[in-house]
């Protein structure tokens, strides 16, 4: 297998909870709790999970938009968590992000051309003339008219603004793009256009995507491999096809059973989860999912399951696999 482009190991991000007059720290929200994965060059790794599970925080923490509590992020042979501020600023050229909300991600005071040439200006790349050419080229590549550079963000629709957001991320020629729910704020018809655009751009610019979303069908479509997150931890990681056809973790199975099926008469079993998502400030002991899992055993309540490769390339954190129980769960 090829060398990983991005390696995340034991990443943790805890937010302190402060109470009282003295603002003492009374606890932590474990938004990302010991997450490790690798991203290979040219692939799309999808991260799915319900809201509040820490998928966006993972994306932002690995870019150091939020400082990680602990853990390491390696980009090629550089440890991003060890870089000082100016080294990290320089490194940001290679790692870019596209945000969820196309309305708040563009500064309303500037014309699109200014917004798009900012990244190059900050890094001192190209001459002013070349920057304009590059802005026009990027707008065109992202399916917009180059004349868009002379207009303001509010003059565009949500889908067009998301294209501008993508163009901005690409002006620096990054190799990794974190897509933080890039289509969930858009209409379904526009979503598919943006997804197609992202696929085209990936091919053209040899990009590696970290695609964060909660929409399973979108993730299935665009991702090569998919990671499932639950309560700040990874539950399962496998190739997209393996995960969607043969999910191992009970949580993944429940998630997948919630996807609507195009054939209303198709017979299928829906796994309904009972209870609410536990608070990440006070996560359950052992396996974080045991409070809602239909297959929970004693060991799940006591011991945190290890992250193991159940099948080649198919990782899962669940006591149902491995030595604990023979044969896995009945399906």
């Amino acid at each position: 297998m090829t060398e990983a482009l991005l390696r995340v190991s034991n990443l943790k991000k805890y937010f302190p909870i402060k109470r009282g007059v003295l603002r003492r720290t009374v606890g932590h929200v474990r938004a990302v709790d010991d997450v490790s994965f690798e991203v290979f060059p040219g692939e799309t790794l999808g991260i799915v999970g319900e809201s509040g599970c820490g998928k966006s925080t993972t994306g932002r923490t690995l870019l150091r938009l939020l400082e990680p509590t602990s853990g390491e992020v390696w980009f090629k042979d550089k440890n991003l968590s060890q870089l000082n501020k100016s080294e990290m600023r320089a490194m940001r050229q290679h790692l870019q992000i596209v945000f969820q909300d196309p309305y708040s991600s563009l500064n309303p005071r500037y014309k699109v051309g200014t917004i798009l040439s900012r990244p190059m200006e900050v890094h001192g790349l190209y001459t002013p003339k070349q920057r304009i050419q590059r802005v026009e080229m990027m707008l065109e590549r992202c399916g917009l008219n180059p004349s868009a550079k002379d207009r303001y963000p509010h003059q565009f629709s949500g889908g067009q603004r998301q294209r501008i957001g993508i163009a901005r991320a690409l002006t620096l020629n990054p190799s990794v793009l974190v897509l933080d729910e890039p289509v969930s704020a858009l209409d379904v018809s526009v979503q598919s256009q943006i997804i197609n655009l992202l696929e085209d751009l990936q091919e053209e610019f040899k990009l590696t995507y970290l695609f964060i979303a909660h929409d399973l069908s979108v993730v299935h479509h665009i991702s090569d491999r998919v990671a499932v997150m639950y309560l700040g931890q990874l539950a399962e990681l496998a190739t997209s096809d393996a995960l969607f056809s043969d999910p191992l973790h009970p949580y993944t199975q429940a998630l997948l059973s919630a996807i609507p099926h195009p054939d209303p008469r198709a017979k299928r079993e829906r796994i309904l989860l009972s209870g609410d998502l536990p608070s990440p400030a006070n996560p359950p002991t052992g396996c974080p999912f045991h409070t809602r899992c239909a297959h929970a055993m004693d060991i799940c309540r006591k011991q945190k399951p290890v992250w193991r490769e159940e099948r080649p390339g198919h990782f899962v954190a669940c006591h149902l696999y491995g030595s604990a129980v023979e044969g896995g769960i009945p399906r």
């Binding site: 600023r89 940001r92 991600s105 500064n107 900012r118 990244p119 957001g165």
Partner: protein, 304 residues
């Protein structure tokens, strides 16, 4: 709206009304929508013109004591052809003094507001953007400043600095930034969370770049509004100081010390307090109307 049933084809055009086309039409629409901004703006403009062209506009030297400026009993004269608004107990022309007083008021109001603006914006932005203990320290300091009776504090500072026009606006400006800092901090906290600020960080921009290029342009509206209102307040404070005798020193004219001089002869020469008093009222009203109007115009969410 007319009583006629709307035609579907042009209902949008009817609902929106005729679109103003020329520049003067647009201006007229703006004036009708925000009358207080234009009334206030007009008053402020008049005041600026009067202050700037005071030497040209004033009929006499404001410091000159006219031999014929007092009557036989040594009392000030009422309005006449020579002295349009009468004279004061020293035999000086009240109109000329009021005109030169506008200079002092405007100078103190504007410069004090600018000093407050700079201090308030810097502290507010630093406090809001960096947060943590920096925010804590700056905000508690702001609370302390706000807890003191403002006028008393200014009086103390002017007393230390020696009364003069420059020291008056320095004292008012140096102590008047607290509210500005709070407003800016609140705005920065809000704008900071927008994803375009995150995007700027993701690009690799420095904190200074983000503050000046991404955040400040988006908090400008309340800054302009508050500074305008602040000018009015400062004019009032300057008058209070001069009235109390620690602002502009006689014989130099200021609306505040004119009021004070006039108070002693109020019964016999009421113009001595009406003239500077009304000028003060108009000036403060002008800046307040302008500030309120600007707020309605720049930030439609508040007010109205």
């Amino acid at each position: 709206m007319s009583q006629l049933p709307l035609q579907p084809a042009n209902s949008a055009a009817v609902a929106a009304g005729p679109r103003p086309r020329t520049r003067s039409q647009r201006l007229w629409k703006l004036m009708r929508s925000y009358p207080s901004m234009f009334i206030g703006g007009f008053i402020v403009l008049v005041m600026i013109v009067v202050a700037v062209f005071a030497p040209v506009l004033a009929p006499h030297d404001p410091l000159h004591q006219f031999d014929n400026g007092l009557n036989q009993m040594g009392m000030p004269l009422g309005p006449s052809h020579q002295f349009l608004l009468g004279t004061d107990p020293e035999g000086r022309d009240v109109l000329s003094r009021v005109i030169f007083g506008a200079r002092v008021s405007l100078e103190v109001g504007v410069f004090a507001a600018l000093i407050s603006l700079v201090i308030g914006v810097v502290l507010g932005v630093v406090s809001g953007y960096f947060g943590g203990w920096v925010d804590m320290v700056i905000m508690r300091f702001t609370d302390i400043i706000l807890a003191f009776p403002f006028l008393l504090f200014v009086i103390a500072l002017v007393a230390i600095l020696q009364p003069s026009v420059a020291n008056v606006y320095i004292a008012i400006g140096v102590l008047g930034w607290a509210q500005m800092a709070r407003i800016i901090r609140g705005q920065v906290l809000q704008v900071k969370e927008f994803e375009y600020v995150q995007a700027a960080r993701a690009i690799g921009a420095r904190a200074g770049f983000i503050i000046f290029k991404e955040i400040l342009p988006n908090v400008l509206a309340p800054v302009i509004v508050f500074t305008t209102l602040n000018v009015g307040t400062n004019i009032l404070i300057e008058s209070s100081l001069s009235f109390l005798g620690i602002g502009v020193q006689p014989p130099h004219p200021s609306w505040g010390n004119m009021l004070q001089e006039g108070m002693t002869v109020m019964q016999l020469a009421p113009w001595m307090i009406y003239v500077p008093g009304l000028s003060l009222l108009l000036a403060v009203l002008g800046f307040n109307l302008l500030g309120d109007g600007l707020r309605d115009w720049l930030d439609p969410r508040v007010g109205k």
